[in-house]
């Protein structure tokens, strides 16, 4: 082994290999291109995969991890004289009760969804989703307020007719000029604009996109749609170090007892916390990575088969030469290392070129390249190969180079001096 290694890194050996590789330049280049392309694609896909993961993790990173959402659904078990399949709603009083009885809650706030309403400004108009929240909303879910302010507790308490407009509404209906403090007509009613909100995360929304949402005090939404004290969903954030699951348990039993829902009903009340979401995304990320490696390695493997094939042909073409070398004193190890070296050099040179080209190409696209177009475009966050992946890719390339040389080397070894000389 030592001997073979020494022979591989011998400059004379490299000279020999160079001579034989450059003898058929076009063929060598074409063969190398197979490996180059495989590595290039692998790097591209891994980088894009990283970008997508960066995007998702960036989005989730913005949201406090000890948060849960409470949804209502139809009951699934008959209980206390009620049939199953009953509709029910969380009430404002429930929220107060929960707040009073569960001290581990840091903040609790509702999201009350209204309809889509038409907003008019001169000859411009458009229809956007109405959302009612309290001042606590931003403590649970991140919102960027770029002008003015967000809804506060006074707005809620006094049921003020104030709205926060999404950035896209400002752009499309108000020509990008923020109508701060002005009155706008929405669904035939005048509201004062108090702020503009922008999406903080790219692809993680609750219900509607922040940029395209009209936000109001939730009490106002209840009144607009005759909801009484109904709340849509609850957002709960636990205090530091309190496991969200224990809060979910307490909130669940309070709501069930207040609404005559069987304690065994697992359908009527639904919680969704970030842990669950995170797990889904993690599984997704793992799936993406796995798929990329499988496809990438597959591409690379076909390149390696190409190399193996070409080196095999070279060996066949050089039967006579290898025989002569054996006759004049080449040891078997010398022949093997020459063939392995040829395969290794093609593969590694092409592989490193592919690696560099792939990384260079992704660097050219930049840190925030948008994948896709328009609304659904996804910004790739830092779409780069991390160092450890690059190293493992390099190791894979070297292994593939050696593997590709194995069969041709075995074939070369079977050539005896006498066979070659007989071929005359």
């Amino acid at each position: 082994m030592n001997n073979i290694l020494r022979e591989i890194f011998d400059t004379d050996r490299l000279h020999e290999v160079w001579q034989s590789l450059t003898r058929n330049r076009r063929r060598t280049l074409l063969t190398a291109f197979g490996v180059f392309w495989g590595v290039f694609m692998l790097v591209m896909m891994l980088s894009i995969g990283n970008g997508i993961k960066g995007n998702i993790i960036g989005a989730i990173g913005q949201i406090p991890s000890n948060m849960t959402l409470v949804f209502t659904q139809r009951t699934s078990i008959p209980y206390a004289g009620f049939r199953k399949g009953r509709y029910w709603d969380i009430k404002a009083e429930d929220m107060q009760e929960i707040q009073a009885k569960v001290p581990e809650i840091e903040t609790i706030s509702p999201i009350v969804w209204g309809a889509s309403e038409n907003i008019v400004n001169g000859d411009k108009s458009g229809s956007y989703q109405i959302r009612g929240v309290s001042g606590e909303y931003t403590k649970t879910f991140p919102v960027n307020v770029t002008a003015g302010r967000f809804i506060n507790d006074m707005d809620v308490a006094e049921c003020r007719k104030v709205v926060v407009l999404g950035q896209k509404i400002v752009d499309e209906i108000f020509y990008g000029k923020v109508p701060l403090g002005k009155y706008v007509r929405i669904g035939g009613i005048s509201y004062q604009v108090i702020g503009v909100s922008v999406q903080k995360t790219d692809n993680f929304n609750l219900g509607s996109r922040e940029d395209e949402t009209i936000t109001m005090p939730y009490t106002l939404v209840q009144r607009l749609y005759n909801m009484g004290t109904n709340l849509g969903i609850l957002m709960i954030r636990a205090k530091e170090d309190v496991p969200i699951a224990s809060i979910e348990g307490q909130v669940g039993s309070i709501l069930k007892s207040r609404h005559m829902i069987s304690p065994d009903d697992t359908v009527a009340l639904d919680f969704m916390n970030l842990d669950q979401i995170l797990q889904v995304f993690k599984a997704l990320g793992l799936g993406i990575s796995l798929l990329i490696w499988i496809v990438g390695l597959g591409t690379l493997l076909s390149g390696a088969v190409g190399v193996s094939n070409i080196v095999m042909i070279t060996v066949k073409e050089r039967t006579n030469e290898i025989g002569v070398r054996r006759a004049i004193g080449a040891r078997p190890s010398s022949i093997v290392s020459q063939i392995m070296c040829e395969s290794l050099i093609i593969t590694v040179a092409a592989g490193i070129s592919g690696l560099v080209a792939g990384v260079g190409f992704m660097a050219m696209l930049g840190d925030n390249f948008k994948l896709g177009a328009g609304e659904s475009a996804m910004t790739l966050i830092n779409p780069m190969l991390d160092f450890s992946t690059a190293v493992s890719a390099l190791v894979v390339i070297i292994l593939i180079g050696l593997a590709a040389g194995l069969l041709p080397a075995r074939r070369a070894l079977r050539i005896k001096a006498i066979d070659a000389i007989r071929e005359e």
Binding site: D12, Q19, S20, R23, N320, E321, G323, V324, R325, R326, A327, I328, G329, A330, R331, P332, S333, S334, K416, A417, I418, A420, I421, E424
Partner: protein, 227 residues
């Protein structure tokens, strides 16, 4: 130098072919020997066995008083490299290497450094009158020139024995005589044992002794110096 005792060789595969049926031969150090025989007589097989390119089934082969039997590939390669130089009918130069590189190749397998290797190679090319062709590829040379380069390659490692398999088989008569003169000179001046397979009596006449092989045994031999 070389002693063969009752060498047998059978090729198996399909129908088995008993090629050598008991060869007994002594070759003195510094002798110039030719082996003659019809095609299929076993003369090339004998040369291959002498050159450690092929194994024999029975008997004993002593090269430089060492019994050559069941050698590993590595041992055979090393013996070939150190003791034996080959000259082939079809020259067998490596076509993408120039004359100098071809001659230097066996020295490369001895682990000699490039500078020294090229120096030795150039020296032998000069000896063969091919110094000016050092940087030429085999495709740019005539048959006689190629054979001279091949002889230079065979000599570069200072072997004890040169084995030549029909060295003039691909050459015209004038060039053949030139090559034979070179081999004679190598034999006489450097004292290297030369063993040549040929089917041309006029080439065999250049050698000291000729053995005739027929049906796998030595049929007759004659001392050429008597005439």
């Amino acid at each position: 130098m070389i002693r063969l005792e009752n060498i047998h060789k059978t090729y198996t595969g399909g129908t088995s072919l008993h090629v050598l049926k008991g060869i007994n031969l002594n070759i003195e150090d510094g002798e110039f020997l030719s082996i003659m025989g019809a095609s299929g007589s076993g003369k090339s097989t004998l040369l291959n066995i002498l050159g450690l390119l092929d194994n024999y089934d029975e008997g004993a082969y002593y090269l430089d008083d060492v019994l050559i039997k069941n050698l590993s590939e590595i041992q055979a390669a090393d013996y070939r490299n150190k003791l034996i130089g080959f000259v082939f009918q079809s020259f067998n130069l490596i076509n993408y290497k120039n004359a100098l590189e071809n001659v230097a190749l066996p020295l490369y397998y001895q682990g000699i450094g490039r500078r020294q290797r090229n120096q030795i190679a150039l020296e032998y090319l000069d000896k063969m009158g091919m110094k000016d062709w050092a940087t030429h590829l085999p495709s740019e040379m005539s048959g006689g020139q190629k054979q001279r380069v091949a002889i230079a390659r065979a000599l570069a490692t200072k072997p004890r024995v040169i084995l030549a398999d029909e060295p003039t088989g691909a050459l015209d008569s004038k060039t053949s005589v030139e090559v034979m003169n070179i081999l004679q000179r190598v034999n006489r001046e450097d004292g290297i044992t030369v063993i040549m397979v040929t089917h041309a009596p006029e080439m065999a006449a250049f050698t000291d002794r000729t053995i005739h092989i027929k049906d796998g045994i030595i049929d007759s031999e004659n001392d050429n110096n008597k005439f």
